[in-house]
Subunit: 464 residues, 2 copies
Amino acid sequence: MEDLDYIHFMQTKNIAIVGSGLVGSLLAIYLRARGHQVTVFDRRPDIRTVEFSGRSINLAMSVRGWNALDKVGIGDSIRELAIPMHKRTIHLVDQEPYNQPYGKEGEAIYSIPRGILNRKMIDLAEERGAIFKFNEKVWDINLPEAKIFTGETEKGEWQEYQYDLIFGCDGAFSRVRHKMQRRSRFDYSQHFLDTGYKELKIPANADGTHKIDKNSLHIWPRGEFMLIALPNLDGTFTCTLFMPHEGENSFENLKTDEEILAFWNTNFPSTKELMPTLLEDFNRNPTSALVTIKCYPWTYWNKVALIGDSAHAIVPFYGQGMNAGFEDIAVLDDIIERFNNEDWQTIFETFQESRKPNADAIAELSYRNFMEMSSKTADPNFILRKKIEKKITDKYPNKWVPLYSRVTFSHRPYAEALKMGEEQAAIMDEVLTMDNIEELWNSPEVEDFILTSLEKKELIPQKS
Amino acid sequence: MEDLDYIHFMQTKNIAIVGSGLVGSLLAIYLRARGHQVTVFDRRPDIRTVEFSGRSINLAMSVRGWNALDKVGIGDSIRELAIPMHKRTIHLVDQEPYNQPYGKEGEAIYSIPRGILNRKMIDLAEERGAIFKFNEKVWDINLPEAKIFTGETEKGEWQEYQYDLIFGCDGAFSRVRHKMQRRSRFDYSQHFLDTGYKELKIPANADGTHKIDKNSLHIWPRGEFMLIALPNLDGTFTCTLFMPHEGENSFENLKTDEEILAFWNTNFPSTKELMPTLLEDFNRNPTSALVTIKCYPWTYWNKVALIGDSAHAIVPFYGQGMNAGFEDIAVLDDIIERFNNEDWQTIFETFQESRKPNADAIAELSYRNFMEMSSKTADPNFILRKKIEKKITDKYPNKWVPLYSRVTFSHRPYAEALKMGEEQAAIMDEVLTMDNIEELWNSPEVEDFILTSLEKKELIPQKS
């Protein structure tokens, strides 16, 4: 018994998490499950008591996210909030919409509004004993001593807290990372896209049903810009307009109601009836920026670690920001277990070394996917490519896993998905240069060529 | 007269410069010459009243730096402090040192100690009416209102100053940039090298003369690490050891006197007699980090601009950090003149757009030059390459300007030097694969091949 008490004493840490968002809440649940005391700080009010902001993009939960939720036993309570989307529905101007399935029969990504999910996760964390301190602004961190300083204002009186460990889950513009960034030899980059975004909405029908197919992620691709819509349980859709900040078709050039309506009539005429509050939403909701943030190291001694967006903010075009953050936590938890929930120096080092290449890979994939969503989904060559890929995948599911499935319906590392995806893309590039490919795409020659190429590249069969 | 008064009133601005280093001092001199009121803030004490820090690398002033000094009429007073270095002297283990000239007859780079230069530049700026406020710490900037907040401590009482314009010349870890970085859509990156550096020294002979050739930049290249020495007017040399922070040969592994001496005996035996205070210097002087910093935009409205390291800190391997900062100022001054010393919005936009590609180019060239200095200077292939280049340059000085000369002995844009240098390197790569090139390097065939390649690539003759 004395030994057991001793071990318990050694293992239980007093832990602060900065940020009560999705990653902060899930980490709180995991750390409680490992027996630690957990306090979560947030500078904002309790999201359960306030209206949502009008600047969020709906989340698309996929296998990595679900794995992380199921591992700690909360997947089922979250599934109740989600709507499966099995396919993309592509809306071109003057053409009937058509569908592109995301994966195999039964595979789907799941639409969840960020605010609703966040409220639920905080409930679940509190039920498990995590303490939440809202409206408490963290202004400074003492990294080597794991101290947090909070107060009403940066210049005013501060309160000091001492912990064993601090986790920075405070998002893309993390205060915790900001403190680490002032140290020597901390690599950091923030790169903004020329494209920004604005939240819009499609309301429900009078009877509470959805105005368009609710089991789809709808895309209106228009080249440099696009509109998307993701379903909510209440019959509405959350829409997002992605568009350059400046230039011919840009937020800068949509200032007056007349400009907005003229733009909409030209580019999204079929949505006009779906969006009766377009002008109101457009004028009220802010135009937000899209950023990729990379940094390293993610940890400080055995004291402080960054998790989720604070370590690796990515653009939203693969729907993997939350999934990557949740997977961080599941990976960290495996490592915590491996090192007996106590050697935090080794836990942190192992975590950042194993996870950093995968964070870089999903950043790259997300950046590239904007082109796929906004331009290529409407391109005949891309559609032919997808058709050939689908045929090979259906026939040889262990030999050809599409890149999208490697990212979305797999828990294999992102870095592997990026590498394999590039090898597959090189094969498909060659296939599409074959004579008369539009006619021959379904021929045995094309199939042979692909299979032989796979063998030459020694692409190992990979299971999702 | 009324008109003239009006113009004078419009043109004269009340300007704050943050940072009294080399770039801040030179900018003060330039802005005084344009008739502006100038106040320079520095958080540190007056460098004229304190000892130098023991963490500096001697400067190598080259054409870009001299041009900027001469344009404002202070070149001659600085030349008195400088020693010309016409060549590299390469010191290999167990071999006689040999020389590599930097350019043509009469071309040289000039060694100046940073501290001595900085003291002189502050004197010159004060003589011209710039006000210096030392020991005044800038904690915050209001960008749109061009306000500066200073005080003893970040949490204490602050003093507020209002200016028309603010220039951030506060170096790689700029407070002014830091404030701009918190805005949306500000691209930023800081990337540290695994290699660090430490200042060491070679004292003068008893009679005040130099112990080794004073008109050389001395290099002891050893692959992953190297020692360099630059002459000072007082007979001493300022030395810098560049070496990885961690690994087999690293600062981490040189902790005890025994480790340092054993390392020195193996790698730099010929310097032992030159450096009697090696152990003392090694233990006293800090090990410093090397960083490349990029950001954009560099300016905020018509109010704030970053100049020098605060906008583009680079690694020191091309000796261009100060030269690039001084050239910033000369370029800015041309633009100020073009827009009549008054349209600061246009001046700032023109400046950042024209200068950013050149800052990126010298960052890339400097990063690559570490390999050249530490490894290639000792490589027979590299020596052969330089020999062929020298022959072609001597014979066709307008057709083949070596990359080093384009950077060091020219005022053409850095971006052009990078591009031309890459084209020339591609030609030399081909030349070095020619059969029996060691014997034939001086043959008409090789010469013909190079001239034909230059014509094919349409490399325009370029004058330094």
